[in-house]
């Protein structure tokens, strides 16, 4: 792809049409001393305060979760990215992601933590006026007050803007009176401040309000009984002419949906980080168990079937992590550029996040599904003990499942991925047409059989990645042409396209991570990481081929279909690769280190 540019400040979604240079990505192997110290504080906090109390937490022992939040607040963990002006520590997005990752190993606690510091705090921080920020943010950053977010309603989940909650101005004009019912509200049981979404009168769009728990007319239902994250408080919140002072309207009237969407973008990215942390913890438990458990006279970690699982867990986790921090860095850079151009910091942060909403959706889907794989195989590695509530896999397995549902279901996020990509193309923000036409032209010409132009450590994978992009542009271009306005309703095709995009983004992030790492540490000390990259990208080629084939077989016909299927084959072709040996190498490292070690 000669037309591919190498840019530092790559824009959101541009990964499909441009190349990123490894030196411009951030990789977790670059954490500085202070960030590592913060990470260690998170680990120590979990080890001392959370892990010994997991059962008590899941039993929702009264006062325990808010107490743990207080402890986390005393350590400063609730205000990592809150500006110092409002009592926080003003750390960058990556550092707050690192905290989300490390605390992500804390089961229900991590849900309470992320709800509080994300959706509980950020709407006010990013959209609040000065008085609102002064009033609420320092208390939220210290943990003195706990935050929650009320968007979902019994009849409005994925379709968030369809909520029935209404607000009307009181006769004296001093209050909004909110009436409605909100559901699945995390932290509701102990929250002091709720960001509540409701439509004012007959508005088309939601507005957002800051509601304190003591405002008249707010009541809580009892705790929901859930499959997992049992220790996290989840309740319905009822508003019955709940009196909210007019100055507690957050941002402008009808700006609520935008707030909800943008805050969810951050939530999705953070969820990615949190699940990576949970993955690492589960892998460590699985490796330790596999090293201890003996069958037929040997530790089960000596068996290939188990090694395969351990390696695969690590491969997916390492790849997910690469994507999370690459996108985090991109978002930060986009924000910095906007601040440099004179934009207010809160606004710049939101714009930066919005810019990478596609990546956020991709990360949400991939990381939550990775954790589900990791816990599932974790249970399997534990065998019978995996099914016992006495062993940790039971909790990990149940707690993982929600991640594919909240912060937008994975189906919604898949559709969003494609939808946002195409919308940006239509708006002219993202030039998909040019590259797509180029690929179409290439299909007619004689194939380039030289798999690699230059021989370097990463030339094969780089060629694969360039081809993946062509495959996606071809299938997506074909789908748009054939299905046109209908495409939005062909959800199976959207899922296929999303899966292809996800595999591309994660593969490329992983390749860039390993390339940068080799540059830092040398090839010799990155053997397992190179294996991880190769196994992942080889599998991605197959997944992209499968999704592409499915879509093409649906919407294409005749000669054109044949041509595109052949193109797809060409663009997802890989050299022979011994993935069994590569996985064995990866597993061997895990087994020797007796923990997740990449």
């Amino acid at each position: 792809m000669n037309d591919i540019e190498t840019l530092k400040a790559i824009k959101g979604g541009e990964f499909l049409i441009k190349e990123t240079s490894a030196e411009h990505v951030f990789i977790p192997e670059e954490w500085d001393e202070e960030q590592l110290m913060i990470a260690e504080t998170c680990d120590n906090f979990l080890a001392q305060h959370v892990k010994p109390n997991l059962t008590r937490i899941d039993n929702q022992e009264p006062g325990l979760m808010p107490h743990l939040m207080d402890e986390a607040g005393a350590l400063g963990l609730l205000g990592i990215s809150v500006p110092e002006l409002y009592g926080g520590f003003g750390k960058d997005f990556k550092t707050s992601m690192l905290v989300a990752e490390r605390l992500g190993a804390g089961n229900s606690f991590s849900v309470a933590f992320s709800a509080h510091s994300g959706i509980g705090t950020l709407p006010i921080l990013y959209y609040g006026n000065e008085a609102q920020k002064q009033k609420y943010i320092p208390k939220l950053a210290s943990g003195e007050w706990k935050g929650a977010y009320c968007l979902t309603e019994p009849s409005s989940g994925s379709d968030a803007n369809s909520g029935k909650a209404r607000a009307r101005l009181s006769d004296d004009g001093k209050y909004y009176l909110i009436t409605g019912q909100k559901m699945w509200i995390t932290n509701a049981g102990f929250a002091d401040v709720f960001t509540v979404f409701a439509k004012i009168d007959n508005d088309d769009n939601l507005s957002a309000f800051i509601v304190e728990k003591d405002f008249e007319g707010l009541t809580l239902n009892s705790e929901e009984h859930k499959m997992g994250i049992k220790g996290s408080s989840t309740r319905q919140v009822f508003f019955n002419d709940c009196k909210v002072p007019v100055e507690n309207l957050l941002s402008d009237r009808q700006n609520g949906f935008k707030i909800a969407v943008n805050i969810l973008n951050i939530g999705r990215m953070k969820l990615g980080g949190g699940t990576v942390g949970a993955c690492k913890e589960v892998i460590t438990l699985a490796v330790r168990y596999a090293n201890e458990r003996e069958q037929f006279g040997r530790a089960i970690s000596k068996y290939g079937a188990i090694r395969h699982k351990l390696a695969q867990q690590a491969i997916l986790t390492y790849a997910s992590e690469a994507a999370v921090y690459r996108a985090s860095q991109n978002m930060e850079e986009a924000t910095e550029m906007l601040v440099a151009s004179g934009m207010d910091e809160s606004k710049a942060k939101l714009k930066g996040i919005e810019q990478f909403a596609i990546e956020a959706a991709i990360i949400k889907v991939h990381c939550s599904e990775t954790l589900d794989y990791v816990v599932d195989e974790g249970v399997q590695i534990y065998g019978g003990m995996g099914y016992s509530a006495e062993a940790p896999m039971d909790r990990a397995y149940r707690d993982s499942r929600i991640n594919r549902i909240f912060e937008g279901t994975n189906e919604i996020n898949r559709m969003l991925t494609v939808d946002m990509m195409l919308k940006r193309a239509l708006k002219g923000e993202l030039d998909l047409m040019g590259p797509a036409q180029k690929v179409a032209g290439e299909l007619m010409s004689i194939p380039d059989f030289s798999l690699t132009n230059e021989e370097s450590l990463f030339s094969t994978e780089k060629k694969y990645l360039a081809n993946f992009k062509k495959a996606i542009l071809m299938v997506a271009g074909g789908a748009v042409q054939k299905l046109m306005a209908q495409l939005g309703k062909e959800q199976e095709v959207l899922m296929n396209l999303a899966d292809m995009l996800i595999e591309l983004y994660v593969s490329e992030s992983l390749q860039l991570r390993v390339e940068k790492l080799v540059g830092l540490r040398g090839e010799e000390s990155c053997k397992e990481q190179l294996d991880i990259m190769r196994v992942y990208i080889n599998e991605a080629a197959e997944k992209i081929a499968k999704s592409g084939r499915e879509a093409l077989n649906y919407f294409a016909e005749g000669d054109e279909k044949r041509m595109m299927l052949m193109g797809l084959k060409r663009y997802t072709k890989t050299d022979d690769f011994n993935s069994i040996q590569a996985r064995r190498n990866i597993a061997a490292k895990l087994i020797t280190e007796n923990k997740y070690c990449f």
């Binding site: 110290m37 504080t41 906090f45 350590l75 963990l77 520590f89």
Partner: protein, 247 residues
């Protein structure tokens, strides 16, 4: 009151110790290092408590080590040290370490010097006593509780089969163990402040070690455990006699 806390860097307890080919040294590659727990959890945290309660007003940290020990020192600063000194030398010899520390501490006039009862890597457990001797200060080892009233320390320590309470005037060197304080986690404020707290590097005194480590070897792999059913007492007795050779 000025307190000096001696900090030592040790391999993380979960690190798998790997030796260099001929057992000449521990392979530091891939090893994670931590503050010696006895120095951190007990000595340093007790010093911080004394400062918080207004008894002490300054906490200095000292470590003997090369530049790679700085992350560990900064963590100690993040926990609550006011300033730190790194004596730029590598030392596995307790006497050498003690002389370096004593030479540094000599002119400063510390009222209290706290250290862990031992470092968990070499476990010599004698640096504190040597420092006291070199500085001509009193020494109490293996403290489990330290209270300071004016210029007198009341120290509770474990002894064979019981406890003893010592009262001693300051200045004093105390080695600390479990009970002296509770482990703390560095908070964000401390972590961010650690960057700005002074960490001075000084050259070691020109002396030679009195001991030398000739070689390292790993302990033999643990033999497996044999489980004998409670009904098979005869077998157990036979095994204790023939295999374990303890009866």
């Amino acid at each position: 009151m000025k307190i000096l806390v001696c900090i030592s860097q040790v391999p993380d307890t979960s690190t798998k110790v790997v030796l260099k080919d001929n057992g000449s040294a521990i392979n530091s590659q891939g090893t994670t290092y931590i503050i010696n727990p006895y120095d951190e959890w007990y000595a340093l945290v007790r010093a911080i408590e004394l400062k918080e309660s207004g008894i002490a007003n300054e906490i200095h940290l000292v470590t003997v080590g090369k530049a790679d020990t700085e992350p560990v020192i900064r963590k100690a600063l993040a926990l609550g040290g006011d300033q730190a000194v790194r004596i730029d030398a590598e030392s596995n010899d307790p006497y050498l370490t003690a002389v370096y520390i004593a030479d540094f501490a000599k002119g400063v006039g510390y009222d209290l010097i706290l250290c862990g009862k031992e470092s968990i890597d070499y476990n010599n457990g004698i640096v504190g006593a040597m420092v006291a001797e070199l500085l001509d200060m009193d020494y109490i080892g293996f403290a489990a509780d330290i209270q300071i009233e004016k210029s007198v320390a009341v120290v509770n320590r474990e002894i064979e089969g019981g406890e003893e309470t010592d009262t001693c005037n300051l200045p004093l060197v105390i080695s600390c163990q479990k009970g002296v304080a509770e482990a703390r986690i560095p908070n964000m404020r401390g972590i961010m402040a650690a960057r700005t707290r002074p960490l001075n590097v000084i050259a070691p005194s020109p002396i030679s070690p009195v001991t030398e480590i000739l070689s390292y070897e790993l302990p033999p792999a643990k033999a497996g455990v044999k489980l004998i059913s409670p009904e098979n007492m005869d077998e157990l007795v036979a095994l204790l006699h023939s295999e374990a050779k303890v009866i």
